[in-house]
Symmetry: D2
Subunit: 352 residues, 4 copies
Amino acid sequence: MTMKTKYPIGILGATGMVGQRYIQLLENHPWFEIVWLAASDRSSGKTYGEAAKWRLDTPLPDRIAHMTVSEADPRGAPKIIFASVDAAIAREMEPKFAEAGCAVLSNSSAFRMTPNVPLVIPEINADHLHLIEEQPWRKQSGGYMVTNPNCSTIGLVMALKPIEERFGLEQIFVTTMQAVSGAGYPGVASMDILGNVVPFIGSEEEKMEAETLKLLGKLEGHAVTPLAARITAHCNRVAVEDGHTECVSIKTVKPATREEILAAWAEYKPLAGRDLPFAPEQPVQFAPQNDRPQPRLDRNRGRGMAVTVGRLRPCGLLDWKFVALSHNTVRGAAGATILNAELLASQGKLDR
Amino acid sequence: MTMKTKYPIGILGATGMVGQRYIQLLENHPWFEIVWLAASDRSSGKTYGEAAKWRLDTPLPDRIAHMTVSEADPRGAPKIIFASVDAAIAREMEPKFAEAGCAVLSNSSAFRMTPNVPLVIPEINADHLHLIEEQPWRKQSGGYMVTNPNCSTIGLVMALKPIEERFGLEQIFVTTMQAVSGAGYPGVASMDILGNVVPFIGSEEEKMEAETLKLLGKLEGHAVTPLAARITAHCNRVAVEDGHTECVSIKTVKPATREEILAAWAEYKPLAGRDLPFAPEQPVQFAPQNDRPQPRLDRNRGRGMAVTVGRLRPCGLLDWKFVALSHNTVRGAAGATILNAELLASQGKLDR
Amino acid sequence: MTMKTKYPIGILGATGMVGQRYIQLLENHPWFEIVWLAASDRSSGKTYGEAAKWRLDTPLPDRIAHMTVSEADPRGAPKIIFASVDAAIAREMEPKFAEAGCAVLSNSSAFRMTPNVPLVIPEINADHLHLIEEQPWRKQSGGYMVTNPNCSTIGLVMALKPIEERFGLEQIFVTTMQAVSGAGYPGVASMDILGNVVPFIGSEEEKMEAETLKLLGKLEGHAVTPLAARITAHCNRVAVEDGHTECVSIKTVKPATREEILAAWAEYKPLAGRDLPFAPEQPVQFAPQNDRPQPRLDRNRGRGMAVTVGRLRPCGLLDWKFVALSHNTVRGAAGATILNAELLASQGKLDR
Amino acid sequence: MTMKTKYPIGILGATGMVGQRYIQLLENHPWFEIVWLAASDRSSGKTYGEAAKWRLDTPLPDRIAHMTVSEADPRGAPKIIFASVDAAIAREMEPKFAEAGCAVLSNSSAFRMTPNVPLVIPEINADHLHLIEEQPWRKQSGGYMVTNPNCSTIGLVMALKPIEERFGLEQIFVTTMQAVSGAGYPGVASMDILGNVVPFIGSEEEKMEAETLKLLGKLEGHAVTPLAARITAHCNRVAVEDGHTECVSIKTVKPATREEILAAWAEYKPLAGRDLPFAPEQPVQFAPQNDRPQPRLDRNRGRGMAVTVGRLRPCGLLDWKFVALSHNTVRGAAGATILNAELLASQGKLDR
């Protein structure tokens, strides 16, 4: 893919944690260029450098620091919007941008489960993108909405898909140990998490359970039929900065040996040859050590876009158990939106 | 129970983390008095104050600090031994003490699954203590061996027993998030756990699965028939000082409503009226808040001897899911040994 | 001191972290009884159990949970008020309560440096309490205001006073490593402190420097002449739940040997014989180990009311250096107010 | 500098934390190539992959994983040795390698204060390298020894040098908050540091004080005359993975304004134009925000080779106070050795 000029990108929710990751990850992106930043009314009119409390460990790019934060209004916004705002705000705003003709690529939970909105991970269910043609805005203004999953869902689904594809899945059990960055900033109070575990994250279990089945579901006609598996999630917050760790047990439809599952993971390369800049070469990586994956050591594999699995062993209750790990603000949020955008660009579905 | 003189107690493994907890918890104990401390050869001959790196947040009692650490040899030891040493050492030493006529109350894993050794939690299976009569030493010297479970097992079993008793249990799923103190001192390297999760603890899953079924099993004839349930455990280490948090899903034999399970927990008071000093008034305490139990806030309930449960809700896969929490070095180790000793004392099975 | 009925106490800022500590520490207090709780408008009218997010590891007392939170208005309030609210709010409210005849014992910074308001630590400068007679309200309504220092100041001053008294002090250098509980709840974001140090706490260095000199100053006529020493503070936030650690270097006026300083600390017992319930028997405790004091191990000495010092050694720049540690929400806040109240009660300056 | 073939490098202490950093940082180094790895007897003969517990968050390079660990013996070793072993071992081994003709670039403390051994930071005192000519081995075999400072010293000295050069320094006060990685692996026990501060690191204060004055000293004749300043250090361990934070107060010889100090830092570029691959473009970077530098956010500046300073403000005791931060295992250890080697290579003092 050669291109003369980059796609102009706008970011809705630019000052939040995921907004900051968009900025960090899009610096020097070969296809995309940030031209518009919007945040809450409190921020608009200020320079981004003034409005945002930059919390990442790479410097805030100078060009971005000097950009003026716009109002969250489609007028003046570019045709491609990366959005990461609270669900309540997303519910109100994202349709306005789609209506105005924008491709809204959203990390928010507001519309993920809406029947005509695709919930997509490029390696998992790229075909679900077809749902944008079911959206009213697509016909009217050309605008549409595509969502990426919750940060805890992505690691699970990427670990499950290669298995589901070959052996089917009947039952899924998952317990998460999630990083604090998943709650945004200021998010989790230090008094709540230092030397502690909080065994509750609002709506997280419900999201994980529903999104997983939609992502692993089949596009049939005008909607996705979710995977007919049973699933349960226990979600916990732990004292980790970045990286969600998940303990998973599964029951497959057809029996699978350990070697077959390892092979399914190793051979899973659905984007091979598509040359999407953010696609990890090896999306699911198996760590052979008996105490891995670990968030500090494995979250950055594939520049934060790979999911690491390990400890595959028989389960006393279902068939197999293992551990999955993914970087929650890269693979699980900002990187997910960017990869969706790259996929859409490669399909000619983004306008400059 | 009135008593003129206290029972003299010896501690094997006195300088370790659990050894220190024995010392802390036995200070001012109404029935027991430490008279003998043993540790590795490196320590013997030194005063305890020199030999141990005291890591607890209450002062090392002066009397103990000045006691001389003995060799780990039954000669010179009192008739009651609290033992917490590595399994390999326990395997060799504990029988020697039992043979010499001691009541060995062990926190070590070495003999927990041995058929004629009782694995006991007083509130759960006090009747299993009868197995000591099956031990060869009992007849010869009067000595015997009683074990308490692994720190991660206790919290689980105490939360399960009230349910099992009323409704039966068919399937048990548990994921643990365990405190670093469970690994002793120095134990877990700070480089391994700061900002991290280690999804592996050697042999822990196997212990939890086997011990749980033995504890919930029935004493039949000369041995315990383990509970005929299926169980699977995922064990993780997290950056918490004290307190193991466990996410549990269960399938009962008979259907149980939420209210029935809450009632089973609330009404579970098997030691009521026995007046054991370390027995918590309410062994299983339900926390009604949606984000509890949490290790920092709930581990000290019942002076560290109660188990806190919370978040009881339907499970998408089995019947119910909930969170259980217990203090791993009090309820899960030193306090467990002490309570076993109190129970034995109340039954007239300890000698002065 | 015998008393028929306890003093009725009101708490202003009852739902905050220090407010919660007042409640925890006053449970079963022999002299004081909480009868009135006030917090922000948002909370008033609710029960305390509904209004407060209880964050301590002992249970919220039932009686308190069911009390209704009042408006922060002197009408209906008892004659003794423990106050811990933001400085801006304190500046407006505390005088109203004093004017209405209340003894306002404040943990807020608003009036600490006001010339006619005593800033008091009972062990250090009980005589400064005389300043209440300089307050206009005292004459009009009998009301007055007494403050206790900032959490980081107390540990420093208690370690310094015994030295200052015997040898004088010319120069004081202090670097703090402060616990997150000092910032209240939610306070420090977990994203800011996990695996991190924040080398800045707003206004903390200024407060520490000024308060220290006032506390060590002399009451002369109608005001306190601050100690004529030079002082500098570096204040940092670290990933500790409770307990401020401080590295101190000092230059004395008269030379002092190591033994003399140790003796000054050991013999410092200014409240001896006064039988104040919260007064630690040994207010400054020396830890002989080379790696102490440490917050996790030493903060609870004297039920959180003692200051622990350690590592006394020559300083390459000034005369001596050492480490001091105190529990920031007990000795450094709620316990400080309570001890001030006990002192006032013992002097007959509190009304029922 | 063009070069046909890279310099072959051997690593002594290859399995330790700093050894691992050498391997990580030297991957793809334009000048150096690892050809030899040595560690303790326990490791020799194994492949590096088997012998080392790799603890970094980038993958262990395949080529290195398959290299066989050698005995720590000069026979068979290349001419350039990067060494990071315990002082006691270094004291015995490093001279053997120098005697055998190797350039020994050491991170160990054993010989740092030896008069004829240069203790060098390229940006600070490159001229001290001349001391190698004073070493007996240099004449005999061509071998020599060069050391880099302790991890806590480097950040301090790099922040001080630009000031010392322009205004002189009379007094230096420093309190450190040091990361656990500085203690190696397993190093600090998690029980010691979670929710805690340890206000003691063995010999650290002595090293910091002595090394700082030697680094800032003048090469005169056959030895270095240390800077004639007074210095005192308080060293603490905190719950941070990487990055040492230091609170510094200084008294200069000539008065300096805030602007003059900022200018001294900004303009300090002593290696400019030398094109050493690991030299940071801006060695001392000022962070203007009032709560910076922070280890998590600033340790990776200049790929971990820059020192970040901030919070420059007047000191109540000396003249100025500020905060300095550096990455302790990159700038403070492995990167320091590598930069020394690059400097020596650029001076023609390394042999292939």
